[in-house]
């Protein structure tokens, strides 16, 4: 019969020979293999204390960026929400009032900005879509929470700390 691929391996279906029927040689061989594994390097790490290095393009939880003076970069243009294949991002825009120039970089800003981390598939399209360098994916991952509400990250969770006021989030 013509094989469908070139990776076909014929199976040896001959009945077992006498030595094979004794099982013992095969068992001893197997035990040799497992014994060698005792001295091998462990494949796992002590996770919370020790973490594996990420690749430079790793995509974890998002942040919202600020500029050098600590003003929010996001202008609530909605391109990230449009790009998002999982529809995880929602936002509401607002107009900057006089006197708020130190808070928001341009005339329009996001009054609320929410990412549902349960919907997010961490594809990074929002990061690519953003024309203002406002949203970035970090190396933080595996968020945990007790209920679904906790996975909806608002602005207070996403915004990076103010560079001058040194407030920790």
């Amino acid at each position: 019969m013509q094989a469908l691929t070139d990776r076909v391996k014929p199976v040896d279906r001959r009945p077992l020979s006498f030595v094979e029927k004794l099982y013992l040689p095969a068992i001893l061989k197997g035990m040799g293999v497992t014994f060698k594994h005792i001295f091998k390097k462990k494949a796992t790490v002590n996770y919370p204390e020790e973490k594996r290095p990420f690749s430079p393009v790793f995509r974890g939880l998002h942040i919202l960026n600020r500029d050098e003076e600590g003003r929010e970069r996001c202008t609530a243009c909605g391109l990230c929400a449009v790009a998002c294949p999982a529809e995880a991002i929602t936002m509401e825009a607002a107009e900057r009032k006089p006197g708020e120039e130190h808070l928001y970089r341009e005339e329009k800003y996001a009054a609320s900005y929410e990412i549902n981390m349960l919907r997010c598939i961490f594809c990074g399209f929002c990061e690519e879509a953003c024309p203002k360098d406002a949203v970035y994916l970090t190396e933080t991952f595996a968020p945990s929470n007790y209920d679904r509400k906790g996975f909806i990250y608002g602005k207070e969770d996403l915004l990076i700390p103010h560079p001058k006021e040194k407030k920790t989030v």
Binding site: I27, M31, I38
Partner: protein, 344 residues
């Protein structure tokens, strides 16, 4: 009437000690099993509870104790509870005739580190171990669950089949030693060579049968998860399940002790009598030697478990009846012929 209170006290202390020892060893076997599994599979194993996870067995035991206890409505309540109790009782009873060491001299009294030196020690162990299958049978039957029942039927036929070969292997050993008392057998090995040198084939058969008797991989058919949803203890929860699992580990400990005593010199070690130390010290060293032998066997049990996959049931039966028993018979014949030859 003159009651020897000191004797009674001595035995009570000894019994408590041996019981505590088997329970502690069984407890730490669960830890050892997980560690051995981990290192064989390139993992780390339990390492959170205490140093190197050494408190893990306590945590597991505590969890089992506080779990909700479920007794199925359609089960036979009395037998359902009797099952694990019997398994545990039988597992603990076997340790009575194993010589854990030579005699200690305390305050002018000779204290033998063996609870009961009965002259039919091996027969006693055989009888008690065979009772162990009742625990499994009762549990499986009382659960009123077809999977449990199938598993217990499997366990019964497996244990009966392998007991035959085990008995035949032992007969060859007894022909060589000429005594049924475990103490005599160990003492003989102390002054001569270990029995494994005279009975290598017999030891191999005994070892394989011990695996089958303990329901350990590769013969753990009674708890084949993929076919039987967990086997005879499927309906069990809480500490009753714990008792079944615990009994398995105690059985492992006892069969390791038995194999060490029968074939590997028990509490004797080479050069034991030429060290010139105090007799009490020698006895303690002998106990340590026995304990090390037991630990090696326990490791072996685990090592095999994480190497070999489970046999199919027909393979298991063929191995037992068509291979183990004939080989054991041949071994008996060879031993008999050799003894005749020696006698000239």
């Amino acid at each position: 009437m003159n009651i020897d209170w000191f004797f009674i006290l001595e035995k009570i202390v000894l019994i408590s000690g041996v019981l505590a020892l088997s329970l502690i060893v069984a407890m730490y076997s669960t830890w050892g099993e997980r560690k051995v599994a981990a290192i064989i599979q390139d993992r780390r194993g339990p390492n959170r509870a205490g140093f190197m996870g050494l408190l893990q067995p306590l945590a597991d035991g505590g969890k089992l104790f506080f779990k909700e206890e479920i007794i199925p409505t359609n089960s036979s309540r009395f037998l359902f509870i009797l099952g694990p109790s019997l398994a545990m009782l039988v597992a603990c009873m076997t340790s009575a005739v194993i010589p854990w060491g030579d005699t200690l001299t305390v305050a002018g009294r000779q204290i033998s580190l063996q609870i009961a030196d009965v002259n039919i020690g091996i027969l006693y162990i055989f009888g008690v171990v065979s009772l162990g299958v009742y625990g499994i049978m009762l549990g499986g039957w009382a659960s009123n669950n077809k999977y449990s029942l199938l598993a217990s039927v499997r366990a019964a036929s497996q244990i009966i089949s392998y007991e035959l070969a085990m008995g035949l292997a032992l007969i060859a050993l007894l022909m060589h030693t000429g005594s049924l008392s475990l103490k005599d057998i160990v003492e003989q090995q102390r002054h001569s060579y270990w029995n494994v040198i005279y009975q290598p084939l017999g030891f191999l058969i005994f070892l394989v049968c011990a695996f089958a008797e303990c329901n350990r991989t590769p013969f753990d058919l009674p708890e084949a998860e993929n076919e039987l949803n967990g086997g005879y203890h499927l309906e069990y929860s809480s500490m009753k399940l714990g008792f079944y699992l615990f009994a398995e580990y105690i059985n492992m400990f006892i069969s390791s002790a038995l194999m060490a005593s029968l074939y590997f010199g028990g509490y004797s070690f080479p050069g034991m009598d030429s060290l010139g130390l105090a007799p009490n010290l020698i006895t303690i060293l002998g106990f340590v030697a026995l304990f090390i032998k037991i630990l090696v066997f326990l490791f072996f049990f685990m090592w095999v478990r994480w190497t070999i996959p489970r046999f199919r049931y027909d393979q298991l039966m063929r191995l037992g009846w068509n291979m183990m028993i004939p080989i054991a018979l041949v071994n008996m014949l060879i031993t008999g012929a050799w003894i005749l030859f020696q006698q000239g």
